[in-house]
């Protein structure tokens, strides 16, 4: 049976929430969906919200761009689990036939999206950095491959919905509007085989004061910092600039930064006003995460470091000599 493409309408966003808190990415995806809807004859933008006692989040979704919220509020959806969530969203897709479905490339969304795409038999692209509608009305999905060395445009021509995931920080949320739209409760019918898994415990680590995606200034370090003692210079420079600290893969492996602070293809995409890279060579996997920064400054002792080609200003020098002086100079104002 061939999918009748014309039957599929509307642009949907999976709205991620945890413990009654809407994830920022949900609003970013609504902003992307709104932009696509304008190019798709003002298609309806819908948010799909699952959880337990989360109805009040619907208003936020309506304020940030949703025309309709599909709300599945049920005790068995309180904590995210792959199978119950796939069941509910999968069923809704089959019944209501969206043309496009955007999901967050978070740990939750990256688990749900592929399972869902396999369930409803459609295509899925991962970690889109650009989304657009082409002349044929199809969703153009630009994705990185080979660590960002290569970019590819993905289409899903014969199946619907066209599904894509987007990492946090790629799009910006819109300004909230006056609430106009509908909240529609959807039935929750979960089957016994969906309870093959349960959450025993959830553990939270301390969140950084300022998340790296939202920071206006980011100071990042790499393997060239060498040891934990010298890493404090990255932190001090960030502190004096009231910025966030980030890093490449080696500082994560060394334990100098947390997973949430890693910038690049398998980490965060940032777009601060100012990025300062210290002691990092600038491998492509990192550069793809910083290329949207307004100003890039790099400090590295190796004049051949690749980071200099992607920087606005590059200082060829030992950071141990430069950064302490720089911190002092910036303190003076």
């Amino acid at each position: 049976m061939k999918t009748k493409l014309a039957d599929y309408k509307g642009i949907w966003v999976f709205a991620e929430q945890e413990e009654g808190c809407l994830a920022e990415i949900s609003l970013e995806l609504l902003s992307a969906a709104k932009a696509l809807a304008e190019k798709r004859n003002g298609a309806e933008v819908c948010a799909v919200l699952l959880g337990y006692k989360v109805e009040e989040l619907s208003n936020q979704l309506l304020a940030f761009g949703a025309d309709r919220v599909f709300l599945a509020d049920h005790a068995s959806l309180e904590k995210y689990l792959t199978l119950p969530y796939t069941r509910v969203v999968g069923q809704l897709i089959l019944e209501r036939k969206p043309e496009i479905l955007l999901l967050p490339a978070t740990s939750l969304g990256s688990d749900l999206a592929p399972r869902l795409a396999a369930r409803v038999k459609t295509g899925l692209s991962a970690h889109c950095t650009q989304l657009d509608i082409n002349e044929s009305g199809e969703l153009r999905q630009v994705v990185p491959a080979f660590g960002g060395k290569v970019m590819a445009t993905i289409l899903c021509q014969n199946h619907r919905p066209q599904m894509a995931t987007v990492r946090p920080g790629v799009f910006r949320r819109r300004k909230p509007q006056e609430i106009a739209g509908t909240i529609e409760n959807i039935p929750v019918e979960i089957k016994s085989e969906d309870f093959a898994q349960k959450v025993i415990e959830t553990h939270w680590e301390k969140r950084p004061v300022q998340s790296i995606e939202e920071a206006e200034v980011v100071v990042a370090g790499g393997a060239g910092i060498g040891n934990r003692q010298d890493w404090v210079w990255v932190e001090r420079l960030a502190e004096v600039l009231r910025g966030a600290v980030g890093g490449t893969r080696p500082p994560l492996d060394e334990g100098w930064i947390a997973e949430e602070q890693m910038i690049g293809q398998s980490g965060k995409t940032i777009r601060p006003k100012l990025y300062v890279g210290v002691g990092l060579s600038g491998v492509i996997q990192h550069i793809v995460g910083i290329q949207d920064a307004k100003v890039i400054i790099a400090i590295n002792h190796d004049p051949k470091a690749a980071i200099f080609q992607s920087a606005d200003l590059g200082a060829v020098a030992d950071f141990r000599k430069i950064v302490p002086l720089l911190v002092e100079a910036l303190k003076k104002k």
């Binding site: 792959t82 740990s107 990256s110 688990d111 749900l112 999206a113 592929p114 399972r115 795409a117 396999a118 369930r119 295509g123 899925l124 692209s125 991962a126 970690h127 990185p144 080979f146 660590g147 960002g148 060395k149 970019m151 590819a152 445009t153 993905i154 289409l155 199946h159 093959a196 898994q197 959450v199 025993i200 415990e201 959830t202 553990h203 680590e205 600039l241 492996d253 997973e259 293809q265 398998s266 100012l274 300062v276 550069i287 793809v288 307004k294 100003v295 400054i297 004049p303 080609q309 992607s310 920087a311 606005d312 200003l313 590059g314 200082a315 060829v316 020098a317 000599k321 430069i322 720089l326």
Partner: protein, 263 residues
């Protein structure tokens, strides 16, 4: 305990700087770059081997890849896997993650028994991270993503610690289940000379589309729901101003640039 480990041989990242686009066909030129197992492939295998050592059973390693990936499967056998399965057929070429998962699922169904399937959270090259969950869906078994530790395995259930933003979750999942692992899960063992010698005597089977009962329209470019419409190398260069010299001079220029940037 019957364990299947799915791996994804991919072009060696050390050689990615030689990847070029054919100026006429716009096709990706990656010939001559040898394929390797990624760090997550090796961790997935290590986890399978550790569980086998603890609970007995066997570990099968499996990849959908061109014939040259035999070398990668030999490496996995040398690390300690008991048998290898290479799913290889020209009609598999161009498969997206959906079609790849379909092929893997047919091969796993052909195995007599499986309790646990392991894979990396994402591959080296495409890095979509889709195949684990899609394969589990085709096998109609639960999947667990971003496994940072396998904590317990008893009573037909596996307890895992799973990474999430700002923390982790402990999940318990009924077997059979598919687990995709992160870098934290373990440190993979090195291959010993003895392991390399033993690998020669282990079964390494190639299954084609016919062996798996797969038709051409189910896989490859035809069977994949997604199409790659174009490929390009992004331009990320900026007009770099490079400064050298005395630290004081350098600092002065950096301060000026910072003030311009953030006012």
């Amino acid at each position: 305990m019957n364990i299947v480990v799915c791996v994804k041989p991919a072009p060696d990242p050390k050689r990615w700087d030689t990847i070029q686009l054919d100026s006429i066909t716009k096709a990706l030129q990656r010939q001559g770059i040898p394929s390797v197992l990624g760090p997550l492939d090796k961790r997935a295998l290590e986890e399978g081997l550790c569980l086998k050592e603890k609970y007995g059973g066997k570990v099968a390693v499996m990849a959908m890849a061109p014939p040259s990936a035999k070398d990668n499967l030999m490496e996995a056998l040398a690390m300690g896997a008991d048998e290898g399965y290479l799913l290889s057929d020209p009609i598999f070429g161009g498969s997206d993650t959906w079609a790849t998962s379909l092929v893997l699922s047919r091969a796993i169904k052909k195995l007599e028994r499986y309790d646990l399937i392991f894979g990396g959270s994402y591959s080296l090259d495409g890095s979509t991270g889709h195949v684990g969950a899609q394969l589990a869906e085709f096998l109609a078994i639960p999947n667990v993503s971003q496994v940072a530790a396998v904590e317990n395995l008893e009573g037909g259930r596996v307890r895992t610690r799973c990474h999430k933003e700002f923390g982790y979750r402990i999940l318990e999942t009924n077997l059979p289940a598919l687990l995709t692992v992160t870098r934290e899960v373990n440190t993979p063992r090195f291959t010993s000379l003895l392991g390399v010698m033993e690998a020669e005597g282990k079964p390494l089977v190639t299954w084609t589309a016919v062996d798996l009962g797969i038709k051409a329209e189910e896989v490859g470019f035809k069977g994949s729901p997604t199409q790659t419409s174009d490929v390009f190398l992004p331009e990320m260069k900026r007009r770099s101003e490079i400064i050298t010299g005395e630290p004081e001079e350098i600092v002065k220029e950096i301060v000026q640039k910072i003030r311009q940037a953030i006012g």
